[in-house]
């Protein structure tokens, strides 16, 4: 007898997706991640549109990482028109990016992941018993949002990041305020590491063949931007060659494509960044990394949660450093003039969930070609593989438990399903 187990709508993730597991007396027959979010065709609709207007809508690919989409699209557009932003501007963009990552990690860890471990169906129900955790979640989320409000115009869909720099920069007082609040948030991030160190005991998924991809950070500082991609098998490639090494395929059961490296699924995200670049961590994050190395298992996707907790600490410290540097150089000019020359540019950055690719061609001030590959699209194939492994270990369990474990596997990837649904031009 074949028994289908379905989760129609995976809760507590961004976007609409489902899981289908079919078992028989002998074991697991079939596992599918159904991505049912409608397609939004971002690449196609921006072709022929004015570059500035297209750049204004790219963040709308995804709300959880809108700043990442904005900044990656901007970098690729600036490469296309042959413009390089001043180092101060690059740093401040990185700071905006950190606001995004801090907010996104805090929301994912506390509001989307934690309820499963504590036995709740939603984070709001935890308020009575876990008041401190909810308060910390809100405080960490708030500092991330505030960075985006001040530098990006708002926490979702930032308009204040434009070709050549920013429309307007925060005042010196606002930077000082951000720094003060980041310092206050640091112990909360450290608490998050402690908290997750106690939860991360899952062994169900052990995939020794797992390969991780991450940006090789520019200037040798653990971070967001880079010109090369590093693979955990030792291979490196320039971002311009992405199509050769990240190969996409359309699959029938999903509006999102699957990605392969050397014919195999691969992983991107916080754990992939740590696997590839841990030697570049510094400060408190480095100490915590050393202390908890054993929990950062490269072969278990659940380690992604813990890696995000370590990154929360790191990005808060790094954000403080960037503010210090900025204040030391004050006043900083917000924007340089750009000329919309014709050209083609590729940018790959580290969005909160992993590698984000934008390739744009600009002609006569308009977008002539656009290709976007999102982290979740890259992770879908390996996510499906790990849900299958989880199902193989637990197919005889109570179906409700299997469902929960399958969902938790998906949640460990922190997927952004709407992100994954507008994919590449073939």
């Amino acid at each position: 007898m074949y028994i289908p187990i379905t989760v129609d709508h995976i809760a507590r993730v961004e976007g609409k997706g489902g899981i289908e597991i079919v078992t028989s007396d002998e074991g697991v027959k079939e596992v599918k991640l159904n991505i049912i979010e409608g397609p939004r065709f971002f690449e196609a609709i921006t072709i022929g549109k004015k570059l500035e207007e297209a750049l204004a809508i790219y963040p709308r690919v995804c709300s959880f990482c809108s700043a990442s989409h904005k900044l990656t699209a901007l970098e690729s557009a600036e490469k296309a028109i042959g413009f390089t932003p001043r180092p101060e501007i690059q740093d401040l963009r990185e700071l905006l990016y950190m606001g995004d990552t801090i907010e996104s990690h805090a929301l994912h860890l506390y509001l989307l992941v934690l309820p499963d471990y504590l036995g709740y169906s939603n984070p709001l129900a935890m308020v009575d018993k876990y008041k401190r955790e909810i308060e910390y979640a809100m405080a960490l989320k708030n500092i991330g949002s505030k960075i985006m409000d001040y530098l990006g115009s708002r926490a979702i869909h930032q308009e204040n990041a434009v070709l050549g720099g920013f429309g307007k920069l925060p005042t010196k007082t606002q930077f000082e305020e951000l720094k003060r609040e980041l310092k206050e948030a640091l112990p909360l991030a450290e608490y998050t590491v402690e908290l997750f160190s106690k939860l991360e005991q899952y062994e169900e998924v052990t995939d020794d063949e797992m390969v991780h991809m991450a940006v090789k950070p520019r200037n040798d500082v653990y971070g967001i931007y880079g010109d090369y991609i590093k693979v955990s098998d030792g291979f490196e490639f320039p971002v311009e060659d992405y199509k050769k090494h990240i190969v996409e395929k359309v699959v029938e059961h999903s509006f999102a494509k699957h990605s392969f490296y050397k014919g195999r699924p691969f992983m991107v995200g916080a754990i992939s960044r740590i696997v590839n670049n841990a030697d570049l961590l510094y400060g408190k994050a480095k100490e915590l990394y050393t202390q908890y190395k054993d929990l950062l298992r490269y072969n278990n996707c659940f380690a992604n949660n813990f890696a995000q907790a370590i990154e929360l600490v790191y990005f808060i410290e790094r954000a403080i450093d960037i503010i210090d540097d900025t204040l030391a150089k004050w006043p900083v000019k917000e924007r340089d003039e750009v000329e919309l020359k014709d050209g083609f540019g590729v940018s790959i950055t580290e969005a909160p969930r992993g590698l984000l690719v934008y390739a744009l061609e600009v002609k006569d001030g308009r977008v002539n070609y656009a290709d976007i590959i999102t982290p979740t699209a890259m992770n879908l194939a390996i996510m499906e593989r790990h849900v299958r492994m989880m199902a193989e270990n637990h197919w005889q369990d109570d179906p409700e438990r299997l469902k929960l474990l399958a969902e938790m596997t998906v949640r460990a990837y922190d997927p952004c399903i709407s992100c994954s649904v507008h994919v590449v031009r073939l």
């Binding site: 507590r12 049912i36 409608g38 196609a44 609709i45 939603n122 999903s254």
Partner: protein, 262 residues
């Protein structure tokens, strides 16, 4: 009200930003004593689209046949239906591609590949069901949610805004980037409520809160500024379509700006 208000938050095709905005409000914690979440997949695992609710918030544009069925079901089960954000009220940025054929969009992104779901051109929720109230913006401001929730909870009804972003921009004392730099700021023709967020950062408004009606007193004087600044009709129309592709009066409105009055 003695009993808790039953709330549902439903997503169609979207970026999930409107619900994220609502979920991120610290105020949401205070709401809990007064409300019961029946369906809200982003925060509640025990969600069910089939339950009856008092207020249904719908985010996203109708972009698949399944979503057409879903909005009809929501309408049947809900007392008040609120369309939330530019996707649900105006079709969203995904409607910017409306000038192209669906098949062309599909081919550009997926080639000849086939998937088992049926895509549609994105459309606003109102196209399929009666909507009782709309929250504009991409995403709406937190205060939009608070105002709407607050009034619903006391059994009242929020008021629509019928003045443009420029009004708020003047009140904030921003320099006008349309007048001073000739940038294509859509402030004159966009519904206010964001406190002129983008012009406050020296960035031209792209019209995310939707087009304001053009039969109100200030329209001619403000909108004609486009013409004076040398912006073309096509330029303004193209820009307004980012968020307003489904607005049936758009052409008429832009024609009015450019053809009438001096």
């Amino acid at each position: 009200m003695s009993e808790k208000v039953r709330i549902g938050f439903y997503a169609l095709t979207s970026c999930y930003g409107c619900q994220l905005q609502m979920a991120m409000m610290d105020e949401i914690l205070h709401l809990l004593d007064k409300a019961e979440i029946e369906c809200w997949f982003m925060v509640e695992r025990d969600s069910d689209e089939d339950r009856e609710v008092d207020i249904a918030f719908i985010e996203g544009s109708v972009s698949t046949q399944e979503e057409v069925e879903l909005v009809k079901k929501i309408r049947e089960k809900a007392k008040i239906v609120v369309a939330v954000g530019a996707c649900a009220t105006q079709g969203g940025v995904q409607s910017w591609g409306k000038d192209k054929e669906l098949s062309e969009l599909w081919k550009t992104v997926y080639g000849d590949a086939h998937v088992k779901f049926e895509p549609k051109m994105a459309e606003p929720v109102e196209k399929y069901i009666k909507v009782d109230y709309k929250l504009y913006g991409c995403p709406p401001e937190k205060k939009d949610f608070l105002y709407a929730l607050g009034t619903f909870l006391v059994g009242s009804w929020p008021e629509d805004i019928d003045y443009p972003v420029c009004v708020e921009c003047r009140l904030r004392g921003n320099p006008c980037i349309l007048i001073e730099k000739g940038e294509p700021c859509l402030g004159p023709v966009t519904v206010a409520g964001c406190d002129a967020r983008c012009p406050g950062f020296n960035v031209a408004c792209i019209g995310c809160r939707g087009a304001v009606g053009y039969d109100v007193a200030w329209f001619d004087s403000l909108a004609l500024e486009f013409k004076k600044k040398g912006l073309t009709k096509e330029e303004i129309l193209e820009r307004m379509k980012i968020f307003n592709a489904h607005n049936p009066k758009l052409e008429e409105m832009v024609n009015k700006i450019f053809e009438e009055g001096e």
